[in-house]
Amino acid sequence: MSINRLASACDFHEVKEDELIHVDCIEHTYPDGTSSLHNVCFSLFKGEIVAICGSNGAGKSTLIEHLNGLLKPSVGRLVVLQHEVTQKTGIISEVGVVFQDADSQVFAPTVIDDVMFGPLNKGLSKDEARKAALDALESIQAAHLMKRIPYFLSKGEKRLVAIAGVLAMDPKVIVADEPTSDLDPVHSRRIESVLVDLKTNYGMSVVIATHDMDLAARLADRIYVLAEGQVISEGKPSDIFYDKAILKRAGLEQPAAVRIYESISQDHSLVDAKPVKEHDLIEILSRVLQGARL
């Protein structure tokens, strides 16, 4: 169900048992006085992928930096793994952030050194850190990159190394800012499958910030729509992506599958479904075509 939140007043809510991240009414103002987040509430539950969608400058990256404790809210409450966060120590290992600019995130001379950076900072010994790094690289099928020099990697490979660097710290939550921006379709799909794999095989929760609605449609179990620093809607993809007014307000477009479905269903009677993913749409159209042949 879609909830319109016009954020006039904001109340703190009770933290649910299976909630990994709980954000209540946070505000953030930059030193120059620019308000980037206003009364933002956010929840992440165990084993789900949540997409934070919004156009450029909507506040997605700022929100993400709060989830990891890199930024401190001016007002509001952040609860991570049932503990209210007052300082960043502790949550950095639990909530790993993969930044949009992998060039800046991957800075060590070799891939293995870079992936070991987090575990070493956590206080692991050299051998433990190396094992954690190798496990992380293997979990995303990137172990072959371990001896490579990051500067010679492609953007997609760098993004994989950045993810491995975060995974090596054994977090409960992965937060990825525009995880597939600037990538070709093949590398985009690879990153997508890694994120889905983290959820299905490792039981991790994933947050992605994106303005790519097709990506959000393919991956997300739940969507938050941000506009001008406020959450203007939250709900299931099938509700959000069929709400044109909300998307327009956020400066976003419907995913391709939704646009095609709506366009076809104007002229033909289709089953009353709300497909958001390409393969859901293909399934519906196949059934319709089969029915027509019969």
């Binding site: 890199l70 050299k126 710290m169």
Partner: protein, 267 residues
């Protein structure tokens, strides 16, 4: 290919890392502590020595060191461009102020033999420093560098030095990308000294500003992976053998001799 590869006059970060991490020359096998200890000694020597012949020998010695490290000599010549540009642009005007036997006179300006010697020694000094520093970077793993710096410098100076080291790389990266961006829009005009100065001035200013922005992002990425102001060193270099200590002491002794002679203007 890194963006650095586009400009051969700027030290290539990727290439330096490649040589330092995977090289296996005789210089790579020298204990990193020895190579590190030689750096301040060499800087000290080239500061106290003003004799042109001795400086030439020192330069040839570090050049042989570079060749022995199996690093590309042609590339070194390209990488000399920047330091030479800076040294010559400053020393060129100063050399006219050096008194001595005049070679050419033009009004109040006089070019003397001593003035030319002054320029030559400054160039040699800068080349010795640059060549040895680059050899050190090309033959020493980054982890060894971090370990040694964290051992020889007190905190937080060690962290500042290490982050400056990374910042230098970021700046070089920014410099290369700025040159590419300017070249791609026809902004590269090196037809004369004035044009070259203007071009490099603009490039450095832009690169410096961009590097700060980039450094902030790197710092944020480091913080997000539990960096708390202490760079964890993952690999320590091999311990220094007695012969290594003896070598360093010998080099220090030579430096003392050079300094002593230098004080009496014999060299």
């Amino acid at each position: 290919m890194t963006r650095l590869g586009f400009s051969k006059h700027i030290p290539d970060l990727g290439l330096i890392t490649h040589y330092s991490e995977f090289g296996d020359s005789p210089v790579h096998r020298i204990n990193p502590w020895i190579k590190f200890a030689l750096l301040p000694l060499i800087i000290f020597d080239l500061t106290v020595v003003s004799n042109g012949t001795l400086l030439t020998f020192m330069y040839l010695a570090v050049l042989i060191f570079w060749v022995a490290s199996e690093s590309p000599v042609v590339l070194l010549a390209y990488w000399y461009t920047m330091p030479l540009f800076f040294v010559v642009s400053i020393a060129f005007f100063l050399m006219f102020a050096v008194p001595g036997a005049p070679l050419i006179s033009c009004g109040p300006l006089q070019l003397t033999v001593q003035g030319l010697e002054f320029l030559a020694t400054l160039v040699l000094r800068s080349l010795i420093g640059v060549t040895y520093s680059l050899t050190l970077l090309m033959t020493t793993k980054y982890n060894y560098i971090t370990h040694i710096i964290s051992k020889v410098m007190p905190s937080p100076l060690d962290q500042i030095a290490l982050l400056m080291y990374r910042f230098l790389f970021l700046m070089l990266d920014g410099l290369a990308s700025t040159i590419v961006a300017m070249k791609s829009r026809g902004g590269l005009n090196l037809s004369g000294i004035k044009e070259a100065s203007t071009f490099y001035g603009a490039v450095f200013a832009l690169a410096f500003i961009r590097s700060f922005d980039r450094a902030e992002r790197v710092a944020k990425a480091m913080e997000s992976r539990a960096y708390d102001g202490k760079l964890a060193s993952s690999f320590s270099p091999p311990r220094l053998a007695y012969s290594g200590y003896a070598f360093i002491l010998s080099a220090a002794f030579i430096s003392v001799i050079l300094y002593s002679y230098g004080r009496f203007s014999l060299i």
